[in-house]
Subunit: 207 residues, 2 copies
Amino acid sequence: MELPGVNPARQKRSREMTEALLEAGKRLLARRSLAELSVEELCASIGASVGAFYSRFQSKEAYFQALQLLACRRATEALAGDGAPERFAGRPLAEICLAIAKGGVGWMRAYEGVARAALQHGGTHPARWTPFKELGREVQERWRPLLLARLGRSARRRNERAVGFAFQLLYGTMVNIVLNDPGPLSLGDPDLPEQLARAMAAALRGA
Amino acid sequence: MELPGVNPARQKRSREMTEALLEAGKRLLARRSLAELSVEELCASIGASVGAFYSRFQSKEAYFQALQLLACRRATEALAGDGAPERFAGRPLAEICLAIAKGGVGWMRAYEGVARAALQHGGTHPARWTPFKELGREVQERWRPLLLARLGRSARRRNERAVGFAFQLLYGTMVNIVLNDPGPLSLGDPDLPEQLARAMAAALRGA
DNA sequence: CAAGAATGATAATTATGGTTCTCATTCTTG
DNA sequence: CAAGAATGAGAACCATAATTATCATTCTTG
């Protein structure tokens, strides 16, 4: 695995430490923002030293980019494997929406901290957010044909817009949950995927 | 107007400067995050000095809290005046939802920068977000009775949850637009309130 | 129109935390 | 089992930006 801004480790100990640093970041970011997570604290948490960190990662920002890239890679893999849209071709709209929502929520649950950190400066620090935005676009593109197929042949233009808005509802609600957890539904709520799916389906049907 | 963390100005010039500082913050935050907006830059933008700033505001954070409080105050006023829910009692569900969505979007448009800054550290810096969360709760509480009245008498519990989720969709989508503007609809899009209202209504009906 | 309070300009202070440096230690490999 | 590369500990360095201190200027008011 080659990541930009990350000097490849040639010795085993170093590879393990790199891995541990990435794992620790994923864990610690569940509680602090990236700015609040100092390199020193990060290293201390796994008994490494700052020097070690910088002999591996070109900068704190590069470290975070790597973290983010790994999270996105996992999602892309899922999109090609178990969660592949093709498996739902021909299924009813409600079922497709549920699969989409489950996939999204599941991923968010796994990468909550990384996602939050990336989101926190999405608007002002575009580079930090780009991989996630890219991922969102990719997911939507993969599902779109199936949704359009369920939506009748007329008003193609309008239907496409409806698909975009359905995803906007999905992503928006999830983002707000991750950032602010306003309730009533939280990320851990078992009903969440179902509710989101219902909202998406309604938005699509009502187009 | 007394604001916590703000030393009241006793001379006119100073009052004007306080006002100008708050106004400048509202404007500048449209482009940068709060962290990126240095006190020095803020002051320079209106030809004031850092010392002047600190003779008025106890800290940068207090300054931002004041900014936020003013924005919330405006919303609360609107809720008591033109945008009062009571004016829509007895109207159809779709119309009520549209009024809600219009109110929310309109407010976001007016206070986009302040809202974004508050949102950016909502999760990790609870104090910064609290007034907004409070406002959201208040808005929802004011509209809830009208919505429930439109939703049939049975399954009260379920209906209340549906109202909560409808607002979660609304707020979530708006928050994500403000933070990341993912499209297809942007904050400035004339269709936005209508689309959001439709989604809310669908979520409510499908409860 | 003074006297004293309020204000504000400027420069110093400080805290934080990312980044770099140095050198001892540990691997790898011929 | 050396020799040289890779690694890592720890401290030093530095940049940024919030905050505070000092003192001249401007208001207010009796």
